[in-house]
Amino acid sequence: MARFRGLIQAAATLATNIHLPNFAKGGIYQGAGKAVCVPGLNCYSCPAASGACPIGSFQSVVGSSKFSFSYYVTGTLILIGVLLGRFVCGFLCPFGWLQELLHKIPSKKLSTKKLKPLTYIKYAVLLFAVVLLPVLVVNDVGMGDPFFCKYICPQGVLEGAIPLSIMNVGIRSALGKLFSWKLAILIVVAVLSVLFYRPFCKWICPLGAFYALMNKVSLLGIQVDQCKCVSCGKCAKVCQMDVDVTRTPDHAECIRCGKCVGACPVDAISFRYGLGVTGDKPAQSTQACENK
């Protein structure tokens, strides 16, 4: 499966943005499919978007005067999180794929191993910009801003503002300081993506933060057979998310890309799916491994 990851990412991006003719029309898809949340970070103001961004949807529901919590979006994220975990980041998220493509641009590559504390920023973004601020900071009629979408998310500019402003003069003339701020964020993320592997996913993405919390209980995961493992360290070396899968197969940062599966010389690492299946397949004893 990991061998075809690029193809799966391309297919997932296309499925998430299936209404391609809307790019030429300068408008967005307005069908009933927009009531359903897509698994990855994909702006619903993208002309081609086939569904709703879960982060944008959550903020719009909790920021409305009618609701202060979204059971619908949270339930959807829990279901996706339990069924797939951060596999979504590795295989299905359009913005994750874009960062990977940018990282393929030949240049000096920098390690994020010493920047691990930055991975906690995304949990703060989830808590404050997505959950708390849209509920607590409200206007006179009780409506809150979607803080993450408005001030942080670069997807809206990339998928929405840029294509729409090219085709629509009205939108182009309305772009101001907020657009400039978000465009600056997009440019910074793009430059960082060339240098670092998936900087937005690792440090900022609130959707990645939610799925990271679900990684320990997701049905899909990575399993390490400790009987076969020769502790060569090749899996940890090849992992660009800075995870040592032999120590923590269910690590919050593991996006299930499967690079460790391909790198293992003794086939000790594999994908697993099911209820109660744990990441470790521990060696009970030397005898048990030998009998095997």
């Binding site: 967005i28 898809y29 307005q30 069908g31 009933a32 927009k34 009531a35 949340c37 702006c43 619903y44 103001s45 978007a49 569904g51 709703a52 961004c53 944008g56 949807s57 719009s60 529901v61 409305s64 009618k66 609701f67 979204s70 059971y71 619908y72 979006v73 949270t74 339930g75 829990i78 279901l79 999180g81 339990v82 069924l83 801003d145 979607p146 979408c149 408005k150 998310c153 997807q155 809206g156 500019v157 929405g160 503002a161 729409l164 402003s165 939108i171 309305a174 772009l175 907020l178 657009f179 400039s180 701020w181 465009l183 679900m214 320990k216 209980v217 049905l219 209820l275 109660g276 744990t278």
Partner: protein, 49 residues
């Protein structure tokens, strides 16, 4: 070790909680609220609002 023992129970419980929350959310009109937002241009998202 304890977590490994309760893991399938937690997984099933979360699946049930997830389905229940989705159904409850749809029943109280959240899906309509999502649709209403998603079919209109999100001005904040594109940097206008």
């Amino acid at each position: 070790m304890l977590f490994k023992a309760v893991k399938p129970v937690v997984q099933v419980a979360l699946l049930i909680v997830g389905i229940t929350m989705v159904c409850f959310g749809v029943m109280r009109g959240e899906a309509d609220a999502v649709l209403a937002k998603a079919i209109r241009l999100c001005l904040e998202c594109i940097g206008i609002g």
